[in-house]
């Protein structure tokens, strides 16, 4: 468990925690970006270069900006009067703590049975390309159709309605 792992873990968990706790919504979105960057560093640490760069490109380059635009379009940067946590915050926190307790117990209980340090796999982008067109061509095409549907759907849902058809 090297020092690099602890630093990246601290960064990611701090970013995630800040994104759920801060009052200003735009600050939450920027802390989420830090969490995304920390996860990309994790992927690079795990020798998954393609996944790491794709994470930066898609999440930081597109999803974070999308979230920020949505916050600005819904006047989210003004803090609400009734506080930022809902009335039932205690139940939510308890559920999340219970989930973490169960997951943590499962991991620590099976820790001796997990595989140890294995040598790094040498993955080239060419292998990923071959896999995408060879073995995973059906998921690739389905994801393409899904993205097209999501694109059209998001535009239609968020479009201004025509004035006469209210």
């Amino acid at each position: 468990m090297s020092l690099v792992f602890y630093i990246i873990a601290a960064l990611t968990v701090a970013g995630g925690l800040a994104s759920m706790v801060l009052k200003n919504t735009v600050h939450c979105a920027l802390a989420l970006t830090i969490a995304f960057a920390g996860l990309a560093l994790f992927f690079l640490n795990l020798d998954a270069q393609f996944a790491g760069f794709a994470q930066i490109l898609v999440y930081i380059g597109a999803v974070a900006i999308l979230v920020v635009f949505a916050i600005l379009l819904t006047r989210g940067s003004e803090t609400p009067k009734g506080g930022v946590f809902s009335r039932t915050w205690l139940a939510g926190l308890a559920v999340a703590a219970a989930v973490f307790a169960v997951l943590g117990w499962a991991i620590l209980h099976t820790a001796p049975m997990l595989p140890g340090a294995t040598p790094a796999p040498a993955v080239t982008v060419q292998q990923i390309g071959q896999a995408l067109i060879g073995r995973y061509v059906l998921p690739l095409e389905i994801v393409a159709v899904l993205l097209t549907a999501a694109l059209i759907g998001a535009v239609i849902v968020a479009m201004h309605e025509k004035e006469g058809t209210k």
């Binding site: 393609f50 930066i56 930081i60 380059g61 920020v68 635009f69 940067s77 080239t124």
Partner: protein, 391 residues
Amino acid sequence: MIRNLDQIFVLLQHWLVNFLPASLQGTAGVLINAAAIVCVFPVLFAVAVWLERKGLGRMQNRLGPNRVGPYGLLQPIADGIKSLTKEDIVPLSADTAVHFLAPVLLVVTAFMGFAVLPMGRNMVLVDLDAGLLFYFAMGASTELAVFMAGWSSRNKYSLLGAMRAVAQMISYEVVLLLSSVVVVMMAGSLSLTKIVEAQNHYTWGIPHWYIFTPWGLAGFIMYAIAGTAETNRSPFDLPEGESELVAGYHTEYSGFKFALFFLGEYVAMLSISGLGTTLFLGGWSAPFSFLTWVPSWIWFFSKIMLSIFVFIWMRGTLPRLRQDQLMNFAWKFVLPMCLLNLMVAAIWRFMGDGWLRWFVCSAILLLAYAGVGLTELRKKNIGPRSYRYAE
């Protein structure tokens, strides 16, 4: 001796690293290379600033700066001293943390792109297998810095400028990626060193640069358009249009932070020119086979400075595009042409060698361009040209 001159920086780095014990040599080598990049490109930034001011001045029929040093060559130093000594004004209601971090993030992500550009034979900082993907990942992070700058200033003009800039950058990011994918398709690798090596062959003295093929030329033109839009340069500089929005998203920045934005913009320009030369203009390879004795890094930097000159030329010549015209252009014209270019490149690959594929591919691209252009022009009723002269 010629090979030594070509590899002079590599040999210099090896000589410096040999002074250290063996355990530190790896990190020291990387640190020396990174320090070289961080030192060289700001010098190129100073040269580009001087070139811009003198070049724009001459194109606008006036002298540029000519007081500070011969031909104004020391003007960038004077600019630097000015921006370092100006007072750093932060608005009272600005979000101080985000306001401070925005220029830092911009400059960091702009410099990160240079890590994968091959600047000469064996002169790349990190030879990543997915080098092009890393470059675009760093480019995508620049947009967030622009938004942070505009939002944290708590200024409606800054926010408006930032939103326009981000919308423009996202639209043209897609075009940039698609026009680079054609090169990846033909070279067979995302690694930039392999892309340059695929272009380093000569037939009858002329190199196999991708710009000398029909799909490469179309791709290069679209890459150049997208690159100009990504760095918010004229004719796509509405977000920082001086007559429109004061200064757009960097209105509320003064002193050194403004200098950082300026540096970030020009370094991004140098970076995009660097990637453009790597992908389409053959990187560090010489234009004719009898010129290969000139060191490779001289060719790379000359091509970058040539691209910078073309950027400045476009700024001095073309009028500014309006925001909706710009977005229309990206989504309705350039993006379909990019997809057509991908198909044309595939046809090129499967037709095999010969003059027929040149004819077919050029015909497809020219017909599509002319067809779309003519149908769009017919919709606008443009009368005969009329001139108005000053009395």
